[in-house]
Amino acid sequence: MWVTLPTHLPSSAAALALGEAAPVHGALPMALLGLVMCVTYALIATGRMHKVTAALTGGIVCTVIALATGVLHDYDAVHVILTKDIGVLGVIVGTSILVDISGRSGLFQFLAIKIAKRAKGDPERLFAALCALTVAFVSLLTIAPGTLIVASLALVLCRTLSLDPRPYLIGVALCANSGALVTFASGICTLMVGTAAGLPYLQFFIVSTPVALLTAGVAWAVVRRAYRGVLRAAPAAAPGLDAETARAAAAEQRATAVAAYDEWALVTDRRLFFRSALLLAGTVIGFALAQPLGVGLDFIAMSGGAAAILFSGQDPEEAIRKVNWTVILFFVGLFVMIGAVEHSGLLQSAAGGLTSITGGNIYVAVVVLVLFVAVTSGVMDNIPVAATMVPIVTTMTATLPAAPLWWSLVLAANLGGNGTPIGSISGVIALSALVEGGGQKVGWGEWFRVGGLTLILQLLVVLAWVLLFTGFDLFPALPQLSAGAAPAH
């Protein structure tokens, strides 16, 4: 039973979804707007222009073309486009503040050291602990801050223990993209697609968490196998000892070195430390209860952010500066650009083309969507990929079951970044950490060998998961979107 059709689709996608004719503005505006979007994405993918500059410029040029060609009747239409996504922006602002204050309290650094110490300096156990920490921290803090904390700890511990940091950092980078799948608010891409699909937080958690853990397990296994020599080789404690004694002495030495890290040394304000833990827990519970309470996730996130400022005693200006303005401005430009392109009918045409390729078969559609999204997310930022695919998938849900398509999009967009070193922010952070902290470079070849294989295996897991759920009708029914929870593009 597929309950799929959102009742609140103000765009042309809704028109198509409801079986009406897509707005027709002629081929020229469609071609011009499509060209601007492709050029913008090329600039973002190649890094020839800062992504915010590219998105804002693309948004402005598309607005001018859309107004000049009558795609948008008046300028108010731009505000309508932006209003649809105000909830996503609210979640980003609120969680940025909360995450910054929690980070300053030392809470996550405390937990990271405490857990890493349990590995007693054993390279394999440490690797497993760091992978698990990554998934947990990214699920709570989102991908960039979560990766940053674990990558920094990994590098510092590797220096202390004289270990090769490559497997640890690559493991962190690959597991981070799985961590972003744990909850609705764990990643920006997840949030955007989840909002558009109207997926409830708890439903998302129940369906997505097993996939997140399975794909993280795949990443752990592939990296462990690829670097088994590095992870097993331990430096000898002293020359002149037999192998067994040397191994025991080296293990003892490593355990002592790790034990010197005192997690309490990172707690500068004990009251803030506990308050941060409570606020973060309260916000996660609030996210889970948002829908029954009849409020949006942005309300919960903003409440958490405001409470963090109020109860932390920290300088509000400092917390506000830490809001991820890069992502917000990127979104603003991107949403306006995609909104204009969507109004031209181009994305609906693309959706029609994609649907016809699949022959209206949901299984084929899932495979095509997963592969297409994973590949494009690997070569460029997954946010524009997901943002562009949302109206396309919305249109496709008019003729195909919605849940498998939304789940395919969200899973593939998050994991697709594992395929290349520039595909996700976690990979960028990890590689930068290797250069900054360890003076080591991981080339595209080495990344493909590990990340590429990981991605292929993860996509097999995703396909098996989605097709299994589709075949046995296991996806929970998608609720009707309320008027207050407008879908993203």
Binding site: Q109, A112, L148
Partner: protein, 275 residues
């Protein structure tokens, strides 16, 4: 997007948590207080501080009214067996007229010769209980005595008070190369972020010891970091906190630490407890 600076800061933060010499911190035992009166406008401040410290620690208060041309020997004799001496500075002169000119010879000598910690009363204190229960421990005034200073601060703050440790790095000081290398900090990179990390590293062992048992001692423990000249930064933070300043003192009056402690007292309107 997180920058390399964020990465470096986070790494340095973890590196600062490496405590190579753990500290066993315990609150100092303050059983007997000696309150020294000189008949000036500071007697009321000395009495208020003595009452407040006694109320917080349960210590008994002995009073000594110092008179005559040579009060020092009398004070030193009275201080035998005392765990803390509370005295006015400047001695024998009104704070309001001469407080910022000198500590007085009596206090200079007392700081050199007295074995017990000395709490110097300065300007009148509005709320002595709040002032005493929320001490600020300035760790870098004399870094060799920072554990003792923290132990005294803890004795005053425990049981519902608040204790702040202040660790300052002065960029104009030539930071010891081995201190940087010992902490995996690149000696070529002395940016404010790196220096702040060094401040954190200098306080790491004390921070760990304090925070680990803060609940048991029922104290609101905080650690603050500062960049700049030690005395100036200490006075800035103390002015906002309005609590007693606690710092170490070197008995050798010519040492850098002893001179820094004297400058701190002279510039402070808040009472300063030198351990």
């Amino acid at each position: 997007m997180e920058s390399n600076d964020d990465l470096k800061r986070e790494m340095a933060r973890f590196e600062a948590a490496r405590v190579t010499a753990p500290i066993d911190l315990q609150p100092a035992e303050l059983r007997v207080l000696l309150a020294v009166f000189d008949g000036t406008d500071q007697d009321a401040t000395v009495a208020a501080l003595a009452r407040a410290i006694s109320a917080r620690t349960g210590a008994t208060v002995r009073e000594h009214h110092a008179t005559g041309a040579e009060p020092l020997m009398g004070i030193l004799a009275a201080a035998e067996g005392a765990d803390l001496v509370i005295a006015p500075s400047p001695f024998g002169r009104d704070y309001l007229t001469e407080g910022h000119e000198s500590l007085s010879t009596t206090i200079d000598l007392l700081l050199t010769r007295c074995e017990a910690p000395v709490c110097l009363a300065r300007a009148p204190v509005d709320d002595a209980e709040r002032c005493v229960s929320h001490p600020l421990v300035a760790l870098q005034v004399d870094r060799h005595r920072k554990v003792d200073a923290t132990a005294v601060g803890l004795a005053l703050a425990r049981g519902g008070g608040g204790l702040a440790l202040l660790s300052v790095v002065d960029p104009s000081e030539r930071t010891k190369r081995e201190e940087l290398i010992g902490r995996y900090i690149d000696p070529r990179d002395l940016s404010p972020e790196v220096l702040a990390t060094l401040a954190s590293a200098r306080a790491a062992a004390l921070t760990a010891a304090l925070q680990r048992h803060a609940r048991e001692w029922n104290v609101d423990a905080r650690v603050k970091f500062g960049l700049g000249e030690v005395v100036e930064r200490t006075l800035d933070v103390a002015a906002r906190r309005r609590g007693l300043i606690v710092a170490g003192r070197d008995r050798d009056a010519t040492s850098e630490g002893a001179q820094r402690a004297r400058r701190l007292v002279l510039a402070s309107a808040l009472p300063v407890l030198l351990v």
